[in-house]
Symmetry: C2
Subunit: 291 residues, 2 copies
Amino acid sequence: MDSLATARFRRFARAVTAEVGALDTSFLGRGRPLGAARVLNAIGAGRAEVGEIRAYLGLDSGLMSRLLRGLEEEGLVTTAPHPADARRRVASLTEAGRREFEAYEALSDARAVALLERASHADDLLRAMDRVALVLGQEAIAIQETDPTSEPARACLAAYYAELAARFAGGFDVALSCDPEAVDMVRPRGAFLIAVADGVPVGCVGLTGRGGPVAEIKRLWVDPAARGLGVAKRLMQAAESAARDLGIRTLRLDTNSALSEAMALYRRSGWVEIDRFNDDPYPDHFFEKAL
Amino acid sequence: MDSLATARFRRFARAVTAEVGALDTSFLGRGRPLGAARVLNAIGAGRAEVGEIRAYLGLDSGLMSRLLRGLEEEGLVTTAPHPADARRRVASLTEAGRREFEAYEALSDARAVALLERASHADDLLRAMDRVALVLGQEAIAIQETDPTSEPARACLAAYYAELAARFAGGFDVALSCDPEAVDMVRPRGAFLIAVADGVPVGCVGLTGRGGPVAEIKRLWVDPAARGLGVAKRLMQAAESAARDLGIRTLRLDTNSALSEAMALYRRSGWVEIDRFNDDPYPDHFFEKAL
DNA sequence: AGAGATATCTGACTAAAGTCAGGCATTATG
DNA sequence: CATAATGCCTGACTTTAGTCAGATATCTCT
């Protein structure tokens, strides 16, 4: 660890506290102390159980209780006993509370937009921010199943096609490729999985079935900012597990030698190379795995 | 500005506040409230005037005054009237105050090291952090003259040579190149300039004179994380201005077409291409500029 | 059913941060 | 040289955050 590294880290911390601190204090400015605003926003973000919010915000139980009472008196929050355990309480926003939460959200978004519009190289800045966020918070990347036509799925696929176009010497045209139908990637025939970090999709994989015991893995992609963190491996494991659920016995996939990280991953995880099994012009390597 | 951009920014803010906030609260743990610790650290970081500290930390004048009194009673700080304006006051650390400041510094460094050691891909993480810090805080990049054998200058040059080795098809060996003597880059013959962001060097340029009216620009380098922010242009302007100071009338430089950004910069800023003027094996383009 | 654990609430505190009006030198300005 | 402005200080507040010791209701386990 060279001594410059700590200086670089601290330079980063200084640059960022100024901006991010401003984002935090934007929680003020709606006539409510920070503590109460944080609780309101935690509830708005989906945290319902009082104990969970308390742990998340690191609050003393007495303080938490008083903040909740305050929000209740403002008419923003209601609490009720937990249906399965009446010692615990669950909080939820009232109509007015939801409006107030949305006002906080709008404030945060406006701050973000203002900063990004002010910065030169916003694209590049966002990529660097993604990398920092993902490496620091890598435990927060979750794999979830979604419809292949959903908004986050389409965002992943667009990025995937753009990357193929950039990496294949002759470009990439999805119309020339064996593009699976969306219906083949929805249960019961198949599945579509995405990796999500804090609401932002960072990777995807499709399991394409045709109703029989053989299915294909298609469209494995991971955001460059999330590479090296084991996301592709987790996506593949989740796809295999979904395949077993669907009664699939054999998985196949095709790929291109330009995608060296993907090839290495397949070889590491029990896939064996087989002969060409389709006439898609893009792939030059074919793999199979028995489940 | 797509809506995902604000989500990505806010993901970054969340990931970072957890870590950077921890760095901030490391200011506690020395038995002093945060406010007093922040004032002490501001003085230690070189801020002397009370009004300046007040503005920097955003404190009320009454609060500021009390915090200063507290630090004085602890024997960590002394204040004196400003020599040019006795209404203003300047604060400085006592011997004990300096020791206490250094203890805070050590604490911050330890936090930084702990985080970087915990993170996978620390190198890559630091590069992304550099990019974020530099784009956000680009106004804080300062150009300064230094000895070419100083620690930061050597760090820049090592990075410069490493980059040439990576970008030249046949590699780069400094021993084969026309390497200028350090003494030719020190006044009165020449100069060496570095760009510094918050204590970390991010770029350099050498002005190599031989005592006559002609000098050469050598070793222009900018940290990849700081590119696109106008640092190279500012370094070149500072070098030209130093050359004028030294009575130089004509500047020359050699470069290689693999360094396309540099070539573009020279063409943009009034340099004209001339014939080869040395037998260095690496350059393939030669430029001149009259001052 | 009873003992102990758990989750939240209430009351009574303290510490820290922040606000505001006025005071006192000192300096700038007409 | 009088007047206004500036920079800092002091005293008297309020608000916010945080702590801690019970109280209360509920659940788990035997």
